[in-house]
Symmetry: C2
């Protein structure tokens, strides 16, 4: 992720990087209790990118509450989602706290603190009404606003909407929850979907995955209503596929992060294409690929690196489905958004 010029769906702009300095509930009591129970000496804290700057203050508060001989450590690894669990720090601490994401991997050692937002959602939902002409509406949100999901539903029902919600598949913890890589909770019987939450990252993915639906964004964090517009993204995807059609040497990226490994897919590509080479890595960044002498890349890891950061790579970066189109195995009209389904 470069920080110079954030793209529209930039992973750093996921509503966690706040304009308004809000109070979060870090649930310090739960952490202090776990330390006492386990007689822990080392506590690891992992924050998403947009909340890393809160790390020192949370550490200060914990130092005040914990015995003097307990050491608090902050994870410096990039963290854009639940996949980015810092397993190194987890293994080397007695209590490990992951803030801001739903549980991805369950373990006695890990405390997940969801960091629910206390922002009022009703004013921005009122503003969004003009964009919702139908009676049927789907409703989705992110982990941060899950605490208000029933309030949202009731608010819509009180205004005579028929609200369609769904838990989605095993990758999703909550009813109505979306992830950057999974929109199964939006597989519902409505042509319009209301997304209530911060940032455009999630609703843009949702609109790419469900191009037949109107996705209305009610963003209570930035206090803005808009309709997801995927045109720029789609042009970029078609552009990348076209540029990759002449590629001879392909780098096939297998991402080693928990929850991102699609080994069978990666291996199949290499097996069927003698000019394809398997490359394994955790963070997939432009710098790391620059030294490889490839004509194009296919990323079997996080789809959002491919679609959102794609233009930053020096060579075309495709999803596995786009790769099949570029090498001629599938027609161009089969281009669709890449998502992760099922369990982690």
């Amino acid at each position: 992720m470069s920080h110079t010029e954030p793209s529209e769906g930039d992973l750093t702009r996921t509503g966690m990087s706040l304009k308004h300095d809000r109070e979060w509930d870090y649930e310090l009591d739960r952490i202090v209790e776990a330390v006492a129970e386990r007689d822990a000496k080392k506590v690891g804290l992992q924050f998403p990118e947009g909340l890393k700057r809160r790390g020192p203050a949370v550490t200060d508060d914990l130092r005040d509450l914990l015995p003097d001989d307990v050491r608090v450590m902050l994870s410096g690894q990039p963290c854009y989602g639940a996949c980015d669990l810092d397993t190194f720090l987890m293994r080397r601490t007695d209590v490990f706290v992951h803030f801001g994401h739903s549980p991805m991997k369950e373990s006695d050692k890990i405390i997940y603190v969801p960091l629910f937002s206390n922002v009022d959602v009703e004013p921005i939902m009122t503003d969004a009404l003009d964009e919702l002409p139908d009676e049927d509406v789907g409703l989705v949100t992110t982990a941060q606003h899950m605490n208000k999901f029933e309030e949202m539903r009731e608010w819509l029902e009180a205004r005579d909407f028929t609200v369609h919600t769904r838990r989605g598949d095993d990758r999703l913890t909550h009813e109505g929850q979306v992830l950057g890589c999974n929109y199964a909770s939006a597989d519902i019987d409505a042509d319009q979907i209301l997304y209530v939450g911060g940032g455009k990252f999630h609703p843009l993915g949702l609109a790419m995955e469900h191009p037949e639906k109107k996705v209305v964004i009610a963003d209570p964090v930035n206090n803005a209503v808009s309709v997801a517009d995927t045109e720029k993204f789609l042009k970029q995807r078609y552009g990348a596929v076209h540029r990759a059609m002449d590629a001879e040497k392909w780098g096939v990226i297998f991402c080693t992060k928990i929850g991102q490994g699609r080994w069978d897919q990666a291996e199949q590509i290499v097996e069927e294409n003698e000019n394809a080479y398997l490359i394994t890595m955790d963070e997939v960044t432009p710098d790391r690929l620059r030294n490889f002498d490839m004509d194009a890349f296919v990323n079997t890891g996080c789809p959002r690196i491919t679609t959102d950061d794609g233009p930053r790579f020096h060579k075309p970066m495709l999803t596995p489905g786009e790769y099949e189109i570029a090498v001629g195995n599938e027609p161009l009209e089969n281009l669709e958004f890449d998502t992760f389904h099922g369990t982690w």
Copy 2:
């Protein structure tokens, strides 16, 4: 490492990124033999940055030599030295080959292929003679040119030099070898040291560590002779220390890479300074530190990230010794180069 504007001691310019396309001996026979012996199904290859572009060709050659059901994988993790062992790929492959560095961690699974250079060193040593007025001369080189170390010594002795060499400490595999973080092989009784090898990265470190000695660089790769000039580096170090003197909040980086963990040092700083916060990470990059709200950083990991990449970070980045100066525990004249000693 950004690739836009390489600094003088840039880790990417270590003589591995070659102007002349040279033949290397990848010792494929050893790899093929190991695969047969262990009935291996997965082979991992890790190349240093400057040689990553050779990965596909080496993979092609191996595919021709190995049974069809053996899968070859390339490490996409950054690799600037022996510390950068890709332990993930190592654990998930039956045979793991690390190219271009001396062994750091011994394991039955790892094959170290040193990639000795076949470049002729004598012409550039002849050019360097003018810079070596004394009879006594120290001689050092890097892993790539170790195969010619005795030839270098004999060549100098034939010209009536008294050649001083040393194995250094346990961190160094070979007599006369230097690492970016260890110059114990140059603790010898001579005021001038001849470095024969590619790039300025190693001799600049050597000159920083031994400011009283004249370090002559005979670079057979770029065909250039020069004398190591540390002035720019020293100015940067003093500048960083001065800028950090007003810092309140300190980020104390503990690097999780094998061979870079100085835990006691990191912990001591945090114990003695209530405004210091421990941050753990593997790659230490400007992007990863940008979101932390700190006034300055002290890096207990790789010293060369601090000295060579320091100017790229948004806040002053100091070595542990420089930190002691910045917070007033040590006088400014105690500023010295940070190195790693002893075993990994």
